[in-house]
């Protein structure tokens, strides 16, 4: 709680500057990986998601003082929040990804597809 005394008198705390630069760098790396790296898509997704998580943790620790005692540290509920978030997202994707075998070939179709098929039948 006494960290506000640790920094120099110049006004800009070192911790914030480090956090800021790191987040800029991480963003640029993610953008680069996406556009320029030419890696396979699953790899890109995995890498940029990891980068996003790192950056989020950075924000929480460096800017939001999550580890600050109040009078006990407050990360318990946020961690549980992230656990539920993971369950919601991963669970929904997993549970909802069935019976969609024709989605990929047909994803542009929508309502138009039906009428095409009808035309076939009429001759």
């Amino acid at each position: 709680m006494s960290e506000h005394t640790e920094h120099s008198e110049s006004g800009i705390p070192v911790k914030h500057v480090i956090g800021f630069i790191a987040s800029i760098v991480l963003t640029l790396v993610a953008a680069y990986t996406t556009v320029m790296s030419g890696l396979p898509v699953p790899w890109i997704i995995a890498i940029i998601m990891i980068l996003a998580v790192i950056q989020a943790v950075l924000q929480l620790v460096m800017f939001m003082h999550i580890a600050e005692k109040n009078p006990i540290p407050q990360y318990g509920n946020i961690l549980f929040g992230f656990f539920i978030a993971a369950v919601v997202i991963a669970g929904s994707i997993w549970v909802m990804s069935f019976g969609m075998s024709d989605m990929d070939m047909d994803s542009g179709g929508g309502s138009g597809g039906g009428s095409e098929e009808m035309d076939h039948s009429e001759h």
């Binding site: 709680m1 006494s2 506000h4 920094h7 006004g11 800009i12 705390p13 914030h16 956090g19 800021f20 987040s23 800029i24 963003t27 993610a30 953008a31 996406t34 556009v35 898509v41 890109i44 997704i45 940029i48 998601m49 980068l51 996003a52 950056q55 989020a56 924000q59 929480l60 460096m62 800017f63 939001m64 109040n70 009078p71 407050q74 509920n77 946020i78 549980f80 929040g81 992230f82 539920i84 978030a85 993971a86 919601v88 997202i89 669970g91 929904s92 994707i93 909802m96 990804s97 989605m103 994803s107 542009g108 929508g110 309502s111 138009g112």
Partner: protein, 202 residues
């Protein structure tokens, strides 16, 4: 607990008994917000690629735009951090100046977001176009709405700071809006990654 006895040390926002209570309450609220946004992300992920007859995302998403918005929010998160730091040094002037900078950056972000939405609508991708675009506009729009609310809230805090000075109550409010602002940045990081970057490659 019985008294509004103010502590003499420690950060201003923690000195009154209701300070830590409110801040803990707000952290819990943010945890609830994590779940709220995760539900939107889940919806977006499940509805991904369901364009119907509308334009696919990768034809509309542009890196310069997404990066500009990201940097605006990242910088504003940084300036907001400085503002809270100024508050802990009990510099009212510094606090107000940095908060106004944060506000300006937030408004810039909103401007770009509105421009982006208008652009998409002109390209034929509206919230009513298809499942994917409904999910996209709702996810980014909910975040944008949070930022808008944050801008109004922050304005109210700045007015209070100028009128009543840096009291423990207002310090607590300032700290809370700071948390809120950083949190919106965290959410944006995931929007940038999961919506824009992935939307560009898939």
């Amino acid at each position: 607990m019985s008294e509004h006895a103010e502590l003499k040390t420690g950060p201003l926002e923690y000195r009154r008994e209701d300070g830590p209570l409110t801040i803990l309450g707000f952290w819990i609220f943010l945890a609830a917000e994590v779940v709220l946004f995760s539900t939107l992300f889940a919806t977006y992920a499940v509805l991904f690629g369901r364009y119907g007859e509308a334009t696919p995302a990768h034809e509309l998403f542009e890196m310069p735009m997404a990066l500009t918005m990201t940097f605006l929010l990242l910088v504003s998160s940084f300036t907001c951090g400085i503002a809270v730091h100024m508050m802990r040094k009990e510099s009212l002037k510094g606090l107000v100046i940095w908060l106004i900078i944060t506000l300006a950056l937030g408004l810039g972000f909103l401007g770009f977001e509105i421009y982006e939405f208008v652009h998409y609508v002109h390209e034929g991708a509206t919230i009513q176009s298809s499942a994917f675009w409904s999910a996209f506009f709702t996810l980014t729009g909910t975040h944008g709405l949070h930022v808008t609310l944050g801008v109004f809230w922050c304005t109210a805090i700045i007015i209070q700071l100028i009128r009543f000075g840096l009291t423990p109550v207002i310090a607590r409010k300032t700290f809370v809006i700071g948390l809120y602002w950083h949190f919106l940045d965290v959410v944006w990081i995931f929007i940038f990654t999961a919506v824009y970057l992935i939307g560009m490659v898939v």
